[in-house]
């Protein structure tokens, strides 16, 4: 009985902890924008907290550099269960432009189990809110994954 209550309450009050694993700060600025009055997410119960121990969700931005991997794992262990990991930006989703650089692991999902990806470089605050709303189950997912085919290149090759 209590578990059920807890599940319902968990969705309505998610506290986030934001971390930057080598990003250019573009995504960080957009995240902060989300938390400001214009795009107010506190009406969904989302709050920014200062310690990972209080957090329910980790917002990770940036392609994961080599140096930060142990710290990131430490951080993940410090967040109590149940937790979500949300990767913000293209860099966090799959490495972005830096996916094959020598000092970058390439994407958060190589280190932590990610629950939600919010792609974009940087993603607009609306996109972030959309992602959070999907995560909370407030709306349906609107976009389905598509595989990219490089049609233009093949055409050029044939010509």
């Amino acid at each position: 009985m209590f578990k059920d209550l807890f599940q319902r309450c968990f969705k309505k009050s998610i506290w986030v902890y934001h971390t930057n694993t080598g990003a250019c700060n573009g995504c960080d600025i957009e995240v902060i924008n989300v938390l400001t009055p214009y795009y107010d997410v506190e009406r969904f119960g989302v709050k920014l907290v200062g310690s990972p121990r209080y957090a329910d969700a980790l917002l990770v931005s940036g392609p994961v550099t080599r140096q930060i991997v142990p710290a990131l794992k430490n951080l993940y262990d410090s967040v109590p269960d149940p937790k979500l990991v949300i990767a913000i930006g293209s860099c966090a989703a799959g490495g972005g432009i830096w996916y094959d650089a020598y000092n970058v692991i390439g994407g958060v999902d190589k280190v932590l189990p990610v629950d939600f990806y919010i792609p974009g470089c940087p993603p607009r605050p609306e996109a972030i809110i959309h992602g959070v709303a999907v995560a909370l189950g407030l709306i349906e997912k609107k976009v389905a994954p598509i595989t990219l085919k490089d049609e233009g290149f093949e055409k050029w090759m044939k010509s």
């Binding site: 710290a71 951080l75 262990d77 269960d81």
Partner: protein, 636 residues
């Protein structure tokens, strides 16, 4: 039956002297233990009986009589029991703590002698006998502090000078009292403090009590002694014995011997308030555990003096109860410090930390005593402090808010200081230098556990000590104490504790609701780095650097640390100046006077020398003149 009064005095003294003859450690320990134990039994017997009095003629001239007068009524017999009981506890504790120190027989001998003389002072009803025992205790104080070795010499000397000097002032006071009332028996006199001479007598006697107890400005011997001497000595002497004796004397003075008027009460209350605040601010910045505890001992004395100075029923009861409580938790704290020193060989707060896991019993006893001393409800410190506040408010008179505020703020500062102690020593992280210490042995644990238990017991069931012990003392002077203490309209600690524990249970229920079962272990979070414990260790010694370096307070602290407020240092410099003046003004003057005589004599003799020419004719003329003068005189 009356002669049982001799037992608590003679038995420890004889046992103590016997100890000097024995050198095997085991026999020594057994002998001391039994000596103390039998003394406590005797004290218990005296307590349970009615008032006893023993009088013997000692010195009897026609104009001057001193009786050897011992009187045990409820107050003195209760403190007698407390004294012997704490002696017993300290003995049990020292069995293990002092195991490897040398000169053990001296130490036990002094311990027993001190208890014997203290019992004598408590029981004595004649002022001169009191003085004799008081002085002997001062000597014992010197010897006990000195027994720690040659490095304790300076501190021992200082204690003796301050306490012994106050003894001398007490002697003066006794003489004035004899002049005023014609008798030396304490139960027979009531002197109203009005006018010059009674005031002087009261102040002199009060100085004797206050120097022993350690209130300002006679406090400086306690921290110095704390640094150098053995911890059981500290636990016994300044914590337990001196407080009991000094406050006993102060109470007898204010209740029995003198009838105070307002100015004296205000003097007492001022001394109390200043002691509270100044001592606890010095304690905030200390870095050594024993010195810190000794400053707190001084500060708590302020509460007792404040309570007694209010003159109201609740206030005096509060002061006395506070004395009792203070002895309990102060001794407990010093014993805990001794345990820590025994196991880790250091008492510097910088080098300690994280001992709560390895020494749990010490930690719990120390925590209980720390909360009691800070006045956290529902422990015993809170009850007695609250009674003192009551008394201050009831007293009215000018300045009462100042006293109230200093007392309450002092309590907050005490809490601050003990938070620092608890954090630095027990909580926090363990430094690498200390290898895993074990818990102390059983015999050292027992006194701590007993005292901590008493703290809790007296806090929750405060009615018992108040009704049975302190009530009768005040019942002589204030009517209606019994009803007021029945707690019908007052704070009832029992009910409060019950409700507090019920709230704790509610909290535990919330814990059960909230999945206390899924608990994980994890590392601390320091920004994701995995840093070793040693690098992130924050000891408590720098907690109050902010306060120490704040403007005006900085100057005060620097002066305090360098001995600016120390009466001994000031006294020493005054004496130096005085001796220089005497040397120049008197000694040199006499020298010059003698030199002057010498010069005059030589001058005169030079002058007469010229008369001795060596010519026979001159001598013949002198001879003729002389004969003529003689003939003339003879013919008159």
């Amino acid at each position: 039956m009356n002669s049982i009064l001799i037992v608590p005095i003679l038995l420890p003294v004889v046992t103590g002297l016997l100890c000097l003859l024995i050198s095997k450690r085991r026999i020594l320990e057994v002998l001391t233990f039994f000596g103390m134990f039998l003394t406590s039994v005797a004290a218990l017997v005296i307590l349970l009986g009615d008032s006893l009095r023993l009088r013997m003629e000692w010195i009897d001239f026609s104009y001057f009589r001193i009786e050897f007068d011992l009187y045990a009524y409820h107050f003195s017999s209760f403190i007698l029991l407390a004294c012997s009981f704490f002696g017993l506890l300290v003995t049990i504790y020292s069995l293990k703590q002092m195991k490897d120190k040398d000169h053990l027989k001296d130490y036990y001998c002094y311990l027993l002698l001190t208890v014997g003389f203290a019992n004598g002072a408590l029981l004595s009803n004649n002022l001169v006998i009191l003085l004799i025992f008081w002085g002997m205790i001062a000597i014992m104080l010197y010897l006990m502090i000195r027994s720690a070795g040659i490095h304790a010499e300076k501190a021992a000397k200082k204690s003796f000078i301050i306490v012994g000097g106050s003894d001398f002032l007490m002697l003066l006071g006794v003489v004035i009292v004899w002049q005023l009332s014609g008798s030396l028996t304490m139960t027979d006199m009531t002197i109203p403090v009005r006018g010059g001479l009674p005031t002087a007598a009261f102040i002199l006697l009060m100085i004797g009590a206050i120097a022993k107890v350690g209130a300002m400005p006679f406090h400086s011997w306690i921290p110095d002694a704390a640094e150098v001497t053995y911890t059981p000595v500290m636990a016994f002497l300044p914590a337990a014995l001196d407080k009991l004796l000094g406050i006993y004397l102060l109470t007898r003075l204010t209740l029995d011997l003198f009838v105070l008027d307002n100015s004296m009460k205000i003097l007492l209350m001022t001394i109390g308030s200043i002691t509270i605040i100044a001592a606890v601010m010095m304690a905030l910045i200390q870095k050594d555990l024993k010195k810190l505890l000794s400053f707190h001992a001084i500060s708590q004395v302020g509460y007792m003096v404040l309570g007694i100075g209010t003159g109201t029923m609740v206030g005096i009861a509060g002061g006395l109860f506070h004395m009792l409580n203070n002895v309990i938790y102060k001794t407990c704290l010093f014993l805990c410090a001794g345990s820590i020193e025994h196991r880790t060989k250091t008492t510097h707060l910088e080098n300690l930390g994280g001992l709560s896991k390895s020494m749990p019993v010490t930690f719990i006893a120390c925590a209980i005593a720390a909360f009691s001393i800070s006045g956290v409800p529902p422990f015993n410190g809170f009850v007695s402090k609250w009674m003192v506040y009551q008394g201050t408010i009831e007293m009215g008179g000018p300045f009462w808010p100042v006293f109230l505020i200093t007392a309450m703020f002092g309590s907050a500062l005490t809490l601050a200081s003990f938070v620092k102690v608890l954090h630095s020593v027990f909580l926090g992280q363990k430094p690498k230098e200390i290898s895993e210490p074990k818990e102390v042995e059983f015999s050292m644990k027992i006194p701590m556990i007993i005292l901590a238990f008493l703290c809790v017991f007296f806090g929750i069931f405060a009615q018992f000590p108040l009704k049975y012990v302190i009530g009768p003392v005040l019942g002589q002077h204030f009517a209606g104490f019994g009803e007021a203490i029945s707690f019908s309209g007052m704070w009832s600690p029992t009910l409060a504790t019950l409700l507090l524990s019920f709230s704790l249970i509610c909290g535990i229920i919330i814990y059960r609701f909230g999945s206390i079962k899924n608990v994980k272990d994890g590392e601390i979070f320091v920004g994701g780095e995995s840093i070793d414990g040693e690098e992130v260790r924050i000891s408590g010694t720098h907690f109050y650097d902010t306060i120490e370096s704040m403007g005006f307070l900085r100057i005060l602290f620097e002066k305090g640390k360098s001995g600016g407020f120390d009466i001994y240092e000031r006294g020493k410099s005054v004496l130096k100046t005085l001796s220089m003046i005497l040397y120049q003004g008197v000694d040199r003057m006499i020298e010059r006077f003698y030199d002057g005589i010498q010069i005059v004599t030589i001058e005169l003799s030079q002058y007469f020398r010229k008369a001795h020419t060596g010519l026979l004719t001159t001598y013949f003329i002198w001879f003729l003149v002389g004969i003529t003068v003689l003939l003339l005189i003879l013919m008159k």
